[in-house]
């Protein structure tokens, strides 16, 4: 692959004059974020309100759901500015990631989703903080504080749940169930798409680096902080 100096694209309008490949990659990543933020809000956050144990937890979950939905709206607005039809940024047009195919059943599962799936989201957003398409960089900076809060929400509630043997067992069961779906979020090893994203400076790190970082940070949370066990998952092909 030929080395290039990636352009710095300052506005949504300026994207039109960027190389076609750059435009396609930006559109692809915006669609991915817009769709997955909405999937997450619909599949996990909204249903979790009924499982939350107290009004405080219910209202906090309600606000978190609104924030996730708000992220969808922001990515969708950016998508529309760069010419993506609104209908292409909703779950109806895209098959769900595997983690979204399992309906949420318990409060413990939701807390684990926030702890680990939102950590995975933080890594994805962190990787956009230096993105050469500046509207995407700005959006990453805007959503990052809320993403960090969501992961902290998961950490705080999981910590609370782990104060009892029954709670610890339920949190461990939820980790065992959901964690194996998360490392594949970061894509295949040696991915050509990822190489293109890095070539254009849209993303900064390889899938392998991201996955290794995610597993290390998840291990610190699950094993060092919660004193539970992180399941071993096979390395993605």
């Amino acid at each position: 692959m030929t080395e290039i100096t990636p352009p710095q694209i300052a506005t949504a309008d300026a994207l039109k004059s960027a190389p076609e490949e750059f435009q396609d990659l930006v559109r692809k990543i915006v669609v991915s974020h817009a769709v997955n933020e909405l999937y997450g809000a619909q599949v996990f956050d909204e249903p979790a309100i009924q499982y939350a144990p107290t009004p405080y937890a219910k209202w906090l979950t309600c606000r978190v759901a609104m924030e996730e939905y708000g992220h969808h709206v922001r990515f969708k607005e950016l998508g529309e500015q760069i010419g993506i039809p609104a209908d292409d940024m909703t779950p109806e047009k895209h098959p769900p990631l595997s983690i979204f195919e399992f309906p949420l059943k318990t409060w413990e599962e939701f807390c684990v989703i926030k702890l680990l799936a939102d950590l995975a989201e933080i890594l994805q957003v962190e990787d956009l903080l230096q993105c050469t398409f500046q509207p995407l960089r700005n959006l990453a900076r805007m959503t990052m504080p809320e993403e960090r809060f969501h992961a902290q929400f998961g950490k705080d509630f999981c910590t609370e749940l782990c104060q009892t043997p029954e709670g610890r067992a339920k949190v461990q069961a939820a980790i065992d169930h959901y964690f194996p779906y998360l490392p594949p979020f970061f894509g295949r090893k040696g991915s050509k798409n990822n190489a293109l994203y890095r070539r254009w400076g849209i993303k900064q790190r390889s899938n392998e680096e991201m996955r290794a970082d995610f597993i290390a940070r998840a291990r610190a949370l699950v094993e060092d902080h919660l004193k539970l066990t992180l399941p071993t998952v096979p390395e993605a092909a």
Binding site: T54, P55, L60, R63, V64
Partner: protein
């Protein structure tokens, strides 16, 4: 379509409301009256209404393990009935868009005001500001849903929203008493 205009009007009220401006103040006749209307509509007529002094006490009550889930379930049953009624009156897409706009507007405005009220009270608690915003957004959604379903203006969800509009936060029923912050 007139009832969706009522939802739009509610968005304006949510935007203008002095969210959480009266929390901790002594309860007046108007607040007790609206709270009584809400309780009566929910099937808890005559329940005592207690004021709540400050944000830490409000958080403790909202997070109390001995809270009474009966009021939440009563609200949920009513919400499902209203949703059925509203979807029979309106096309699904514009209805959901109107309800979402009401909720988003309330969530953002209430969050800003809750963060300000907490800071003014010297309480640093991001999660509590978010929970307060979630409560406000939910109340606005329920009032909007009642409006979309063509319910009367004095519907119990309207009464609940009017408490938020008056700067209060109804925390639900704990130990047999409605706690009104």
């Amino acid at each position: 379509m007139a009832t969706l205009e009522a939802v739009a009007a509610l968005v304006e009220r949510a935007r203008a409301a002095p969210w959480f401006a009266a929390v901790g103040a002594p309860l007046g006749a108007a607040g007790r009256g609206a709270a009584g209307d809400y309780l009566r509509g929910l099937g808890f007529a005559g329940l005592p209404i207690d004021g709540v002094a400050d944000w830490p006490q409000a958080k403790a009550l909202a997070d109390a393990p001995d809270w009474d889930p009966a009021w939440w379930h009563a609200e949920e049953r009513l919400r499902h009935r209203l949703l059925d009624a509203a979807t029979s009156r309106h096309a699904r897409a514009p209805l959901l868009a109107a309800l979402t706009e009401a909720m988003m507007c309330a969530s953002e405005t209430a969050h800003d005001r809750a963060a300000h009220a907490l800071a003014s009270a010297g309480v640093a608690d991001d999660a509590l500001a978010r929970a307060a915003a979630g409560a406000g957004a939910q109340a606005c959604y329920l009032a909007a849903l009642a409006a979309a379903a063509g319910s009367a203006a004095d519907h119990l969800f309207g009464a609940k929203f009017s408490l938020f509009e008056a700067g209060r936060w109804p925390l639900g029923i704990v130990a047999g008493r409605l706690r009104l912050f």
